[in-house]
């Protein structure tokens, strides 16, 4: 046993073992790199990304301006403006502000929403060069933000 160990040591077996591992991994099948703008990752269904406000089939907002999301938000970044409709005595959403720059994407607003109108969607390219533009307006949340697609 001792002799075997000594021989292993002299012939640098341990080092060759390590070398063989790195050598084996050069096989092209082992590559895991994703070339991002060309290959885009598939995000899962539950992914929490860009916030969206959903409309019903007629294009009318589902939001009832109840303010549950604003209350639930740990960062208090949701601003809701509403007016009471004099006829139906219901609150009507006038504006909806969402500051993505401060958002943690914890999903608490989504959970609090009784009508499931606010959701954290699947878009994940939220980076901007400045902080302006991070505060999303209602129409941006409803229609989504066209992002510039970089190809190269």
């Amino acid at each position: 046993m001792k002799v075997v160990e000594l021989l292993r040591k002299i012939f640098l077996i341990d080092l060759f073992q390590g070398l063989s591992v790195t050598f084996r991994h050069q096989h092209p099948d082992d590559l895991v790199t994703e070339q991002y703008p060309i290959e885009r990752p598939e995000v899962s269904d539950r992914f929490r990304g860009q916030p969206r406000l959903k409309n019903d089939a007629d294009g009318k907002t589902l939001c009832t301006a109840c303010g549950a999301c604003a209350l639930a938000c740990p960062e208090k970044l949701i601003k809701i403006g509403s007016l009471r409709d004099p006829e139906t005595k219901k609150k009507v959403l006038t504006e909806f502000g969402f500051d993505v720059g401060r958002c943690m994407f914890c999903g608490l607003c989504e959970e609090a929403c009784p009508t499931h109108s606010l959701e954290l969607g699947k878009d994940y390219e939220l980076a901007l060069y400045t902080r302006e533009g991070m505060e999303l307006e209602r129409n941006q949340l409803e229609n989504g933000i066209p992002r510039k697609v970089y190809e190269k």
Binding site: D14, V21, H25, P74, C106, L108
Partner: protein
């Protein structure tokens, strides 16, 4: 400014203050340094290459999370704890939820408990993989970092599918889980377990027998059992010194008593033993995950908790075995909807204190190895 003026201005800052012998060299490692794992700053006092003393300067990542808690509701604070130890966000989340549940006296449904076990053990795997990669990188082996990060990516994919986020998951809610297992959850996890085991063997083949690795880690960073006690060291560092203590066994939480697993211990209490202990822990985690997936019963995933959580007046201390050690939450409630005080017992912070003890008299290269072996995350140290 001429050189003379410059040195004179130094004297003005610290009049007559010298903490040096004439042949001591002060080396300022960090806060921006490749191997201080974030923004730890270590001031080394060197005699040539030998470390005569060192001092840690903390707080470069201090975000005042304990203060933040005082102005959030109990539910709202949950996403913040993920930002403590961001390599093991799920563990933090579990600890906090358990603490609040204990205060409320809520019994979490079995299925939720098992889901929690599966996710925290996956998270332990992910955390240990980061540790392994970065630790080896500190010692100079570049390649294992990529292998471990590749494997961690598969775990993060499962997190993403389960709860929609990869790193700071906010996976659990007070009273149970927010999401049920997605379709194909069990199958995917069992498959992952089968895949990971040979990969752990691969790390071993690459490094465990390697003479350079052995020389760099054996007898480096020794700490005695008595010192471990005195420094309140927990987690793999404690277990490598031969103390078989793990919160999961000592004070089981979240159904850990249902599972069969061993607690790996070391004997030499050096960097190499800690490596062995952690790698073995990865195997044990896989074992637990397999049992939990098989035992996953149907049922509710969240207990009945009021919408606005108002725990009774009182205080509890609840701790779990996070990948880094014992992660404790000491929470005080005044009966309102907001925490009165949330104190986190951060394992990294407390383990890091032993750095000075462990590295005195060793070489500069060893300090780097010891920082790696302590497995600190600065998000948790500085909070």
């Amino acid at each position: 400014m001429s050189d003379k003026q410059f040195y004179e201005s130094l004297d003005e800052v610290e009049p007559g203050h010298t903490f040096l012998g004439s042949n001591e060299l002060v080396l300022n490692m960090g806060p921006q340094h490749p191997s201080t794992h974030g923004v730890l700053r270590v001031i080394l006092k060197l005699d040539g290459e030998k470390v005569n003393g060192l001092e840690c300067v903390l707080g470069y990542l201090h975000r005042g999370i304990e203060k933040v808690a005082e102005s959030r509701t109990w539910t709202q604070f949950a996403p913040f704890v993920d930002r403590l130890d961001y390599t093991a966000a799920v563990s933090n989340s579990l600890g906090y939820c358990l603490a609040v549940e204990k205060m409320l006296g809520v019994e979490v449904p079995k299925r939720a408990q098992y889901l929690r076990v599966i996710l925290t053990e996956l998270c332990r795997l992910a955390s240990h993989q980061i540790w392994l990669g970065t630790h080896l990188l500190d010692i100079g082996a570049v390649t294992p970092l990529f292998y471990t990060f590749r494997d961690r990516e598969y775990i993060l994919n499962i997190f993403e599918k389960y709860c929609g986020a990869r790193l700071t998951n906010h996976a659990f809610r007070i009273g149970g889980c927010r999401w049920d297992a997605y379709e194909g959850f069990s199958k995917e996890i069992l498959h992952l377990c089968d895949d990971l085991l040979p990969k752990i063997d691969e790390y071993r083949e690459l490094i465990t027998g390697n003479r350079i690795w052995l020389q760099r880690t054996k007898n480096v960073g020794y700490i005695s059992v008595e010192d471990c006690r005195s420094y309140s060291i927990t987690g793999p560092v404690l277990r490598a010194s031969g103390v078989c203590w793990d919160v999961r066994k000592a004070q089981p939480y979240s159904s850990y008593e249902d599972f069969e697993f061993d607690i790996p211990t070391g004997t030499a209490s050096d960097t190499f033993d800690r490596y062995v202990v952690r790698v073995e822990e990865m195997r044990q985690s896989i074992r637990i995950i397999r049992q939990a997936v098989e035992g996953l019963a149907e049922g509710p995933i969240i207990a009945k908790v009021p919408k606005v959580i108002k725990p009774p007046v009182g205080e509890v201390y609840v701790s779990i075995e996070a990948p880094k050690g014992e992660l404790g939450y000491f929470i005080v409630s005044d009966g309102s909807a907001q925490p009165y005080r949330v104190r986190v017992r951060p394992p990294s912070f407390i383990n890091l204190q032993a750095l000075e003890k462990m590295s005195k008299g060793s070489l500069v290269a060893d300090v780097v190895a010891i920082i790696g072996t302590l497995d600190i995350v600065l998000g948790e140290v500085d909070r």
